[in-house]
């Protein structure tokens, strides 16, 4: 019994069908708990007032935007090396979710930036690299749309994802040389104890886990949709050729 058995679409459909209801309920529960806790049951910050509460959306969305691209990279590599169709379709399914997360992070940041920095947008390295990430997602999605043959499309988008990852990383560090930053550095790290007060930290953690389960739910749902689309197209082609 190995993980690769779930590369079989039939097994994947059976397993994901069983997981999906739990994942849906879990993500809804976590997000409701985290957001209601964060928005209504935490104190206002002494400097930022209630605007600080936007972190409960902004931080998880930004985290997911980057990690979804990483997940697409891993799925693309699995497709290129082992040629499992479910993997290619999972990468395709994840991309629209990733671009949405990037937009959520950009917009919530802008809404917070107006009262705090006095501007919706600044050419800060972190903000700019998110805009760059957005453009990379756009190109990736456009390529999926443009190529007609499914396997060629999976190949080309996987190669683009690989090359794009290298250049997105390069851009991420090149923009640091280009302008001074306004955005704060990383606060949450796995190795150090959090400098954020517990009253914010715990609802934030709940929200982050909620966003992760939401992503798992959506990506399973969309991968199943793509598998079914492909099956129905195969059935239609068989009917037409008869």
């Amino acid at each position: 019994m190995s993980l690769w058995e779930y590369a079989n679409p039939v097994k994947f459909m059976a397993l994901s069908g069983r997981i999906l209801p739990f994942a849906t309920v879990l993500s809804a529960a976590l997000l409701l708990t985290g957001l209601i806790w964060g928005f209504f049951f935490t104190a206002d910050d002494f400097k930022q007032g209630s605007t600080v509460k936007i972190i409960f959306l902004h931080v998880p969305a930004a985290l997911m935007a980057i990690n979804i691209w990483l997940m697409m990279l891993v799925a693309s590599l699995v497709w290129l090396v082992r040629r499992h169709h479910v993997s290619a379709l999972a990468a395709r399914a994840a991309a629209p979710i990733g671009i949405t997360m990037t937009l959520i992070a950009l917009f919530t940041g802008a809404i917070w930036g107006k009262p705090m920095w006095g501007t919706y947008w600044a050419w800060d390295p972190r903000l700019t690299s998110f805009m760059i990430l957005f453009v990379f997602y756009l190109g990736y999605l456009a390529l999926w749309q443009a190529v007609e043959d499914d396997d060629t499309a999976a190949d080309l988008t996987s190669i683009l994802c690989m090359v794009g990852s290298v250049f997105a990383l390069l851009s991420r560090y090149a923009v640091n040389l280009w302008n001074q930053g306004l955005h704060q550095g990383a606060t949450l790290t796995a190795t150090k104890e959090s400098p954020i007060d517990g009253s914010y930290y715990y609802p934030l953690l709940v929200c982050i886990v909620g966003f992760i389960t939401l992503f798992v739910t959506l990506v399973l749902l969309r991968t199943r949709m793509h598998i079914r689309l492909r099956r129905s197209r195969a059935v239609l082609a068989r009917e037409a050729s008869r």
Binding site: I132, V147, T152, D155, I159, V163, F167, S171, A174, V175
Partner: protein
């Protein structure tokens, strides 16, 4: 490989279009800037490094869809792919030919165009050097984009959408070399980073482009 490179250069020069087109585009783009922002010398001198770099980058983009398109249409590409030259070599030869027919003329043309925009005197040598180094990576990255979109009908617009984001690090570092030189800082560090980036693309892009070609030819 050399023969292939020579053939591509001759084709570009003799068929017209590719060779002069990019230069004309570059000239017109630079001419448009004073129309857009006004003829004030101080303003033009300040934005000249960025304008020249963006202009060269966009001019480079123009002839990219021709890199593989014509050969794919008449079947030459399949013949080349089955020849003893490895696909990475084919891609490198194509990219080198593209650089010689666009990157090199653009680099040489950038100095007089810089004068038109009132680029300060200390900027010229760095402008030409940074473009000479940077356009190589532009040609290679562009060839990768062309390899991806070779099977797509009317892929020109998609090609720009795929390639332009990949140009971001080159543009940032290249323009920074000139900006630093003009403002009296030491541009060598930026130039070294730009050179490193070009070497990285030279080493890795042919492999990725060959993979893309193989997927398209299957």
């Amino acid at each position: 490989m050399l023969a292939l490179c020579r053939r591509d250069i001759l084709l570009a020069v003799r068929s017209g279009g590719g060779f002069g087109l990019a230069l004309a585009f570059f000239l017109i783009l630079v001419m448009f800037v004073p129309f857009g922002v006004g003829p004030d010398r101080a303003v033009l001198a300040r934005i000249a490094p960025g304008i020249l770099w963006i202009g060269a980058l966009l001019a480079c983009l123009l002839s990219l869809d021709r890199v593989f398109q014509l050969d794919a249409e008449d079947g030459t590409l399949e013949a080349l792919a089955t020849s003893p030259i490895p696909l990475t070599g084919l891609v490198s030869a194509k990219a080198a030919a593209h650089w010689i027919t666009t990157g090199l003329p653009l680099t040489l043309a950038s100095a007089p165009l810089g004068y038109l925009l009132g680029l300060p005197a200390e900027g010229y040598i760095w402008l030409v050097t940074s473009l000479a180094v940077g356009t190589v990576s532009l040609s290679f990255i562009g060839t990768f984009g062309a390899a991806i979109t070779v099977g797509i009908k009317r892929g020109g617009l998609l090609l720009s959408l795929l390639v332009l984001p990949l140009y971001i690090p080159t543009l940032i570092l290249g323009a920074q070399v000139v900006t630093r030189a003009v403002s009296g800082q030491n541009p060598v560090a930026s130039l070294a980073l730009l050179g490193g980036l070009t070497l990285l693309t030279l080493a890795l892009i042919p492999i990725a482009a060959a993979m893309a070609l193989r997927a398209n030819l299957r």
